[in-house]
Amino acid sequence: MESVLGRYRNLIILVGVLFLQVLGLAVQVKRSGDASSTRLIRVWAVDLITPFERGLVWAQNGTSNIWHDYFFLRGVRAENRQLKEKIEQMRLEQVRLNEDATQAHRLQSLLAFKEQFIAKTVPAQVIGSSGSDLSRSIYIDKGENAGLKPDMAVITAGGIVGKVWIVYPSTSLVLMINDQSSGVGALLEKSRLQGVLRGTPDGELILERVMSDEQVAPGETVLSSGGDQIFPKGLPVGTVSRVSPGREMFLSIRVKPAADLNRIEEVLVVAEKQEREPAVAESGTRARAADILAQRLPSVPDKPAVAGTVPLKSAASGVSAPGLGASSKPQANAAGKPGTGTGEVLKKVVQKTAPADSANRGGTDSAASGSTTNSIPSSANPSSANPPAKPATAQPKPANPPANPQPATTDDSPH
């Protein structure tokens, strides 16, 4: 017996070591790959490797910054000029987008939609990877100490990157969207078709669960749908690169990621999301759904009977002309100016209230840079607190509409 054991000693030890590893693997698999069961030993390995990565990234960035910030400044003046011009163009664009956003928020508030805002983001730097070409994951230099938790979305300005998978004290492992075990709820921008975005073993992205009888064109933008409860809705995911018949009755849609997943250096972790009703409704500029729809359909002629409510609404928004009562204005408007219906009136309202609205959204816009969104308490609007008493007092004071962003004439008639 002893001679047999001695003769096959190496083989027995090999089988024993393999058996132990297979056993450990089976336990982990049975626990559905829950990383918390192996957290302690993962922490050891990560703590051993990541300090060097962090140090090297720091040294690399320091050297690069010294070179680019102090020595290699050729063309900076011209670039600065171009950027200023671009800022001016973007400001104009922003005004237009603000108007659209305001209208969208009003509609959402009328329909009692809840919006998801990115309330707080944590910037982080990529310091390494898992070290395997069979998994797509990266390490970032922020962890529990920075308030990170598993399943937080990781994004860049270009698009979504992945989600926080395992959190360590000062680092986190991020599972990228092109890993084969990841899944993202996604929708196509134009057709609004929804599907599930999955990674492949080759590191590509495939949009699944889109029926084969749907029309999907290459080049179409793919956005996050928010259905996975991880990524906020509407973030860019990528563009459709190839469409081919897939398994069963579904299409196989290849997607080119919006963010360059192979060369990410900095990311933002969405540390906090807020769900609330659009802030526009609380700024005092209430609008009726019919008016907004009328604005969206300017070619539809106004009906006098329906347009009778317009002045009240306009007064509520603070733009009604002096001397025009609730009963006289609609007829004058509808009869005297057929081309300027409720849509035109409301358009003026929107233009005049846009600055106030955009100011309200300032907190949201700045959220991407890491600040917390300023919430507007719904009780702060006095006009909504006691609506029936106000309409009469508003009539004598419509002369200075922009200066009165909260006209007491808020129309609280049922929408």
Partner: protein, 172 residues
């Protein structure tokens, strides 16, 4: 010197200092985690595997080889998102095989090292594929073209790396 079948007495067995035994695998793991982010093509290489093969062949002791492979593989698993043990099992097999082969064959020259590394790379990939697919249910596609190319690239890098690591060898 060509690959020859030799008796145990003819083959030299080497050992390494503790700093080298610990430091070289750690450096390999570090580079494997760090470089692919800067140079995406680098992900085709598997430095921990090359280090495993080197130590196993130099020590020529199957027990030592399998434990070296297990330790390096498990450490590599700890850095990844998947359950721990997939690389561990694959590198245990490679460590055992490489040291067993090193005990029987003279693998000191470049040609032998190239072939041995290519062969063990394919063994490693096959074991990894089997474990990942049938135990962890990961979806992997076996591609002979890709794996042969990657094996060749690893073998070339391995030959260079082995000659560098030869400097740390100590005769027993």
């Amino acid at each position: 010197m060509p690959i020859t079948y030799t008796s145990g007495e003819q083959i030299e067995v080497y050992r390494f200092s503790i700093p080298v035994t610990v430091g070289v695998p750690l450096l390999a793991l570090f580079l494997q985690a760090f470089l692919p982010r800067r140079f995406p093509f680098f992900s085709i290489f598997d430095l921990p595997l090359l280090v495993t093969i080197f130590f196993a062949m130099a020590r020529r002791n199957p027990i030592s080889g399998l434990f070296t492979g297990a330790a390096i593989g498990l450490a590599q698993d700890m850095l990844g998102p998947y359950p721990i043990g997939i690389y561990g099992i694959a590198k245990t097999v490679v460590g055992f095989g490489a040291s067993s082969l090193g005990a029987k064959l003279d693998v000191e020259n470049a040609g032998a090292r190239l072939l041995v590394t290519l062969g063990f790379y394919l063994v490693h990939q096959a074991v990894y594929f089997g474990v990942a697919r049938y135990m962890v249910s990961l979806t992997l596609h076996w591609s002979w073209g890709h794996d042969l190319l990657a094996g060749l690239a690893n073998a070339v890098v391995g030959v260079v790396l082995y000659f560098m690591l030869d400097k740390f060898k100590q005769r027993t």
